[in-house]
Each structure stands twice: as C-alpha cells, then as structure tokens.
Amino acid sequence: MTPILSIRDLRKSYADGFEALKGVSLDIEEGEILALLGPNGAGKTTLISTVCGITTPTSGSVTVGGHDIQTDFRAARRMIGLVPQEIALEPFEKVWNTVRFSRGLFGYGADNTRIEEILRKLSLWDKRKNAIKELSGGMKRRVLIAKALAHEPRVLFLDEPTAGVDVELRKDMWEIVAELKQAGVTIILTTHYIEEAEAIADRVGVIDKGELLLVQDKNTLMAQMGKKQIEVMLTEPIQSIPKALSEHNLTLNGNGDVLIYTYDIHADRTGITTLLNDVAQAGLVLRDVQTRQSSLEEIFVNLVSGAPA
C-alpha cells in the first residue's frame, strides 16, 4: 500500500549551524494515527512545519498523496490541515468568517452546509457569530481545528493539540480525533502527554535531537520494551526479604509490605508460579497480588535518556 505521507532523509539546518532535523525518514499509512513524542526542541514542530510548507527543508523530500511538497505544492497542501501549537487567531474576526476564510484560502468556494457541519461537530455552532476574542481558550482551540478541517484535508497535523487545556477538553479532543479517524483522516499529532499517545495513537514515533529514534506500533512497542511487574502485597510487613526468596531478585517497598518482582513477559518461563510457591513456603501471607506494565512514558524517558527500557 502506498503511504499517504512519505518523508525521505529530511534535513533542516539553520544559518547558525543548528541542525533541527538530521535525516528523518518516515512513512505514514492512510487512516492511521501517529503520535510523535519528544522533549522540547526535539524537532517535532520543525518536522510538521517543513511538511506543511512553513519551513523550507535544507534537503530531502516529502510527498503527500504522491504529490511533492515543493514541486507540486498546491496539490500536496490541499491535502493537509494543520492545527498549530500556539493559539493564533485574528481576535476581532467572527468564528464563521474565519472558518470560511480558511476554506477559501485552500481553493474551495464558500460551502455553508459544510462549514455548518464542521462547526456543529466541534460544538461551535452557537458561537459562530461571536468574535474570537470572546471565546474561551478551549473554544479557540476548537476554532483552530475547525479552520484546519474547513478544506476537508486527508492528512491532519495536530501540534500539541491539548497543551495547557483541562482534562475535560482533552478528552473531548480525543473524541474528535477518534471521529476524524473514523472518517478516514490520517492524523499526526505531537504531544508531551504520553497518556494521549497511549490513548489514541496507532503508532508511536520518538524523536530527539532531530533524529527519529523509532517508529513502532504502540502495542508492539509496549509489549517489546515494557517490563511487567508483580506486586505481592503481604498482610504483615517484613524487615527484609527472606533468604529463601533471594534468587528471585525481589525488591521490598518502603513499608515492607510489598514485594516487587520484575519479569520479561516474552520469556518462556516468567517464574511467577515458582515465586508464589516460594513466598508461601517462606510463611508469608498474601493480602493481594497486582501486575503493572511500564507505561509509554517510562519507555519514552528511557529511550530518550539512552537507558534500557
């Protein structure tokens, strides 16, 4: 299957010699949601800006739906929608007009039905006659999305869409993204919130210092790189780990009432049965047993810091 977005050896250097992108290559299939994770200054926004035409690449190529972003920029850009990180809106303009402006800018005539549909979907219909400056921060973010969707893009870039918004709005955004995916829109989002990537992405890319460290299916990534732990909760706290359990490499929590066992979920033998037998043999009484898997955040931090996951 031909990817809808294909990035090949994309580089961006600035006059001061700073290399924001160091040969990024990436293919994105139609209809998928890719979350780009990375610390501040990793190159996430530069990557998006370059694909969208805001930043000129130093070298490399990008095609959107088979159209090169430089030689065939009109066709390529028509397929792209961008929701920027910062809330950038003309404060005195009305919601309806600003969405209509975006549609016109991308070469589409005023289609009131389509604009109404977008505004209703984003709960902006009641605010359509309001000036942007009268809206709350959350509503302004919705307007940015409405503008990006006004020309019916097939690829949507969301640059930190939920940065600084409350939990409720974040959940709303996730719902909007899910709906867009249902409609077949390909979504690339950058985020600091790992839980966001965990909740909505199909694949996760990790970028740091201008290099794409990995791109992988989210579940595969978590399965491959995630550790799993069993927390054995005891009815009575203990001072130290009994000698009989020393071969299991357990750790004891601060209160002395939880034994933590880390194991590889892909190993033929996880050692869980033996552990639980040995715990019983050692005369310890269990109150509860819990399992915990590494979050994407832990994986991400480990990847960026270079430590093993």
């Binding site: 969208c52 805001i54 000129t56 009109r74 950038a88 003309e90 303009e93 016109g104």
Partner: protein, 253 residues
C-alpha cells in the same frame, strides 16, 4: 491561479475595513476639512492664484495624494504584519497559494481602501473649492497606480518590520517628509532655483505633479516623466516582493 484564495484574502482584509467604517470614512473627511480651513481659507486667502487656479483648489491633488499614499502604506503594511504578529501567517504559508496570489489579495485590498478614502476626500473637497478635472481618465489612472504602488511598498514594510515601531518608521521618517517637500502645498516653481533642482530628486514630486496635471493641466515636470516615475517605482516594489517570496526573507524560516 487560486482565485478563491485571492478572494478570501481580499474579503478578509476588507472586512477589517468595514468593521471600522465610521472611522475609515470620518477620519479623512475631518482631516481634509481641517486642511481646507487652515491652508485653503485662513492662509490660502492671502496667497494669490497659481497659474489661474485658486490656492484652495491647487492643493486638492496634493492632499489626496498625501492621504492616499499614507493610507496605502499603512493598510498594506498592517495587513501583512498583523498575521505575522498574531502568528496566523502559518495558515497563509501552509495554504496552496503562491506569492502572486498573496500580493494580489493583500495589496488589492489595501489599494481599494486607500482609493475609497481618496474618492471621499475628492468629494469633500468639492464642498470647499471649485474643482475641475481636465483629464479624468489620467486622474483615475494616477490615483489607482499610486494606491497600488504604495500598497506594494507598504507590503514590503510589513514583511520587513519586526515590531510596530518599525512599521511607522518609513512612513513617518521618509514618506511624510518627501510628500510635504514634494509640492503638496506649493508649486516647485515657487522655490529658489537651487531648491527646484534639489526637489527634482524627490520622486514624490513626479507623482503629485502628474496628478495635479490631470486636474488643471498644470505640471512641475513633464507628464511623461511622472508616468515613468510611478511605473519604475511599481516595478522596483514588485521586484523586491518577488525576491522576498523567492527567498522567504522574514517570512519562511
């Protein structure tokens, strides 16, 4: 050509103008009336006719040029600077539009607004002085070309400026003195010979002279020179804008 984008930019910019229509309309009417009261009536009554034209009527083309030039620059510079300032320029840069379409949209709207004000001043002037327009066709062309060329200059200033202070730097420190010293309120034939020669290096002289010629047939410099001057100026501005978009100077990193 993405004419839909041109129309969108033009409409968006004109909407800004119509939001403040009263201010856009009343301000030029008031300032022109004040110019006529001060220069036309109070001082003008003590100045004799210039080649058969009353002083009040003589300054009308210069007054129109003064407002039109300043408004063209401020409208166009503000039009493109404001998206830069707000950050909304991202949308323009990521849209399927080329520089010609962007320029037509922004400069077209800025020139239209200035033209509107020019016509308002012209109509206001008829309440104070007896106007005659000997070459109406040339008058319209001079007015339209002035609006367009100085809107192009304003567009360049808007892209160059990195703060509001810089936006007013060129209009206040360069353009205003050139207009006031370019024969807005006098004929350069009224100056001593040395100053007449120096004044000929002021490009605005050619503009005002040509425009005044279209009204009364009076010109400080030959009409062909005036036409050539404004065409060369327009060409230079277009060349600079073409270079800006080719290199992405101050707009695309």
């Amino acid at each position: 050509m993405n004419w839909s984008a041109v129309a969108a930019i033009y409409r968006f910019e004109m909407a800004r103008f119509f939001r403040t229509l009263a201010q856009s309309f009343l301000s030029p009417v008031l300032s022109t009336s004040l110019y006529f009261v001060v220069f036309g009536t109070a001082i003008g009554s003590r100045i004799q006719e210039i080649e058969g034209v009353s002083y009040g009527a003589f300054i009308v083309p210069g007054l129109i040029m003064l407002s039109v030039v300043m408004l063209s620059i401020s409208n166009a510079s503000f039009g493109i600077y404001f998206p830069k300032f707000l950050g909304t320029i991202y949308e323009l840069l990521s849209a399927p539009v080329n520089f010609i379409e962007i320029v037509i949209g922004y400069v077209g709207a800025a020139a239209t607004k200035a033209l509107f004000v020019g016509v308002v001043i012209l109509i206001t002037a008829t309440f104070f002085v007896d106007l005659r327009i000997e070459h109406p066709f040339a008058m319209v062309w001079f007015l339209v070309l002035t609006c367009l060329s100085f809107s192009l200059l304003g567009f360049i200033i808007g892209i160059w400026a990195s703060n509001f202070e810089q936006m007013s730097l060129v209009p206040q420190l360069v353009v205003t003195p050139l207009i006031f010293l370019g024969g807005t309120f006098y004929s350069i034939s009224m100056l001593p010979p040395v100053w007449q020669t120096i004044t000929l290096f002021n490009p605005v002289v050619y503009l005002i002279s040509g425009f005044r010629w279209s009204f009364y047939g009076l010109a400080d410099v030959p009409i062909g020179f005036s036409l050539l001057a404004i065409l060369v100026f327009t060409g230079i501005c277009l060349g600079i804008i073409g270079w800006i978009f080719k290199t992405g100077w101050r707009i695309r990193s």
